[in-house]
Symmetry: C2
Subunit: 325 residues, 2 copies
């Protein structure tokens, strides 16, 4: 047995807990520790918990640092910073900011000769990879991405900021009719409203004006105004009982015509009971690839589009050819 890949986690929210679970499903890896801004004494996890301040001291014990913070404020700062000292993997998912994030991580990782594998997960990540593959195989075609049914944390948070809202959960739901139109290969132009429905479950404060809350949600620009939005008021008990999980998923569908009139369709879909545990599983496979790249002496920022897929696997190239090809 070769030595296990030593993983450390920075940030212990849903994603960090998912990474902890995923490492246990990969026998070629071991979890060195969980690093947190909170008091490590209050963290209940299977590995040792440490304060973030202790991270640099543990540098020699860590092969790959998996960053489990958020894309809004944590990762833009943490990824370039920690790429100076570690091979890192992150799931930065603010699509429009990826080129900027890549550049910052690349500069930092190149200077210190580390690997920074960024924007992994499923979108960006596996969905990006599928869009790339489909578009390369069938270049005269069109790709469509649908998300859901699943919980959007950003949209749930937006509802919680409405006055009178105590708790909220927003499900993004793909419109079945739009999926079917795409699958037939008609290449429709679809508006945001035609692609997804926004289904909102809201716990209102006692005595709050639910009509006003529903109206504010439905007309919120950037989040709900461009969609058919449904608002359901429920009790906190119902919320806790029926909406405590974080399912998600989606579809990448690519259709094209080859030759005279031969229609070709590629479809990739995910159906996930737990979005953070799946994203974490991608991060962990990517950590293996980052470790492999680092051992080869490669460095700089990378994305899943740059990695030989075999590097995600613990198996040898021979075994993969024999068993999977």
């Amino acid at each position: 047995m070769t030595e296990k890949i030593r993983i450390a986690i920075l940030g212990y929210g849903n994603l960090g807990r998912g990474v902890e679970l995923a490492v246990r499903q990969n026998p070629d890896m071991t979890l060195v520790g969980v690093f947190t801004r909170r008091d490590p004494k209050n963290i209940a996890c299977t590995a040792q918990a440490y304060s973030t301040d202790a991270l640099l001291e543990k540098k020699d014990d860590i092969d790959v640092l998996i960053l489990c913070g958020g894309s809004a404020t944590d990762l833009p700062e943490q990824s370039p910073l920690y790429a100076k000292h570690f091979h890192i993997v992150d799931s930065f998912d603010n699509h429009s900011q990826i080129p900027k994030h890549f550049a910052a991580c690349d500069e930092s990782a190149k200077q210190s000769q580390h690997v920074a594998l960024i924007s992994t997960g499923w979108d960006p990540g596996m969905f990006s990879l599928q869009r790339l593959l489909a578009g390369c195989i069938l270049p005269q075609g069109q790709s469509y991405t649908f998300w859901g049914k699943g919980v959007s944390q950003g949209h749930s948070d937006a509802i919680r900021r409405v006055a009178g809202v105590r708790d909220a959960r927003q499900y993004t739901v793909p419109v079945e009719a739009a999926l079917q139109r795409v699958r037939t290969g008609e290449n429709p132009d679809l508006t945001a409203r035609e692609k997804h429905i926004r289904d909102c479950f809201v716990v209102a404060e006692d005595g709050a004006d639910t009509a006003r809350i529903a109206d504010e949600i439905k007309n919120m620009p950037g989040y709900f105004a461009d969609y058919d939005t449904f608002v359901h008021f429920i009790s906190q008990e119902e919320m806790d009982r029926d909406h405590s999980r974080l399912p998600h998923g989606g579809f990448v569908i690519h259709t094209a015509t080859t030759g005279q009139a031969n229609r070709q369709r590629i479809e990739y879909s995910l159906q996930l009971d737990s979005n953070p545990e799946f994203t974490a599983s991608v991060l962990v496979a990517c950590a293996r690839a980052a470790h492999r790249l680092a051992k080869e002496g490669q460095y700089g920022a990378k994305t899943v589009l740059d990695i030989p897929p075999a590097y995600l696997s613990a198996k040898s190239a021979e075994e993969l050819r024999k068993t999977l090809l």
Copy 2:
């Protein structure tokens, strides 16, 4: 505009014609010629047709040679042979012989410092890649591959060898109930019979004993005996009218549990009006990757599991990050 990638085709059957069509859909490529064992005067194609004997003379005009022969007898000989002189791409699909084919191509390609990108297409090829990705992300899960609905050339040929059969077309059809059981995540053990139906359309010679033909087909070991096989006798007119196309497709479904009991499902599917045109489209994208690897000075045998996905694309890494990630 950078110089176009100069493609040559060896073998002008369904696959070769598909490559000719696919090259036209990729503006960064140009077709140098079609090389055939038949008399080139009898070949009607958009590019110049040459005798196979002329291939070596044209060496300096060809960046990548796409081998479009069959896996039974052509490719085991041609791929190692032509990898001595060209960067090649093939779609060798005899799964159990892939390690041997890889070794032969690797030796030949390494000696002459060429790239031999083998066993591309969709299975092996894109399906292999999906099995790899899914298994790396969710290692404690199970992958299932289903084929169809589509025409199996090998099974159609097997029927044509039965005495009294004039023409035949065999459709491999996935069993819907099995697909559903797999999707639920119950990880069933499925026999060949439980996974696929074999649906056969047969034109019998005048006066042939159709009961005997049906019986011989249904009991043919290796091809039909292990399946629920249906035999339909039709006229040559019906065959020509209803069964002249070569549709195919299939599913790679991977299910797993993460954490306590969160079920996660990844599904990749193809629905193809034309199997050879789709396979050809994969070959052509792979030719671009082979060219890129060659320009980097890499050589030896490779498979789709070894290639950075971005190498399949004509676009720059920056553009891919900006538009697809």
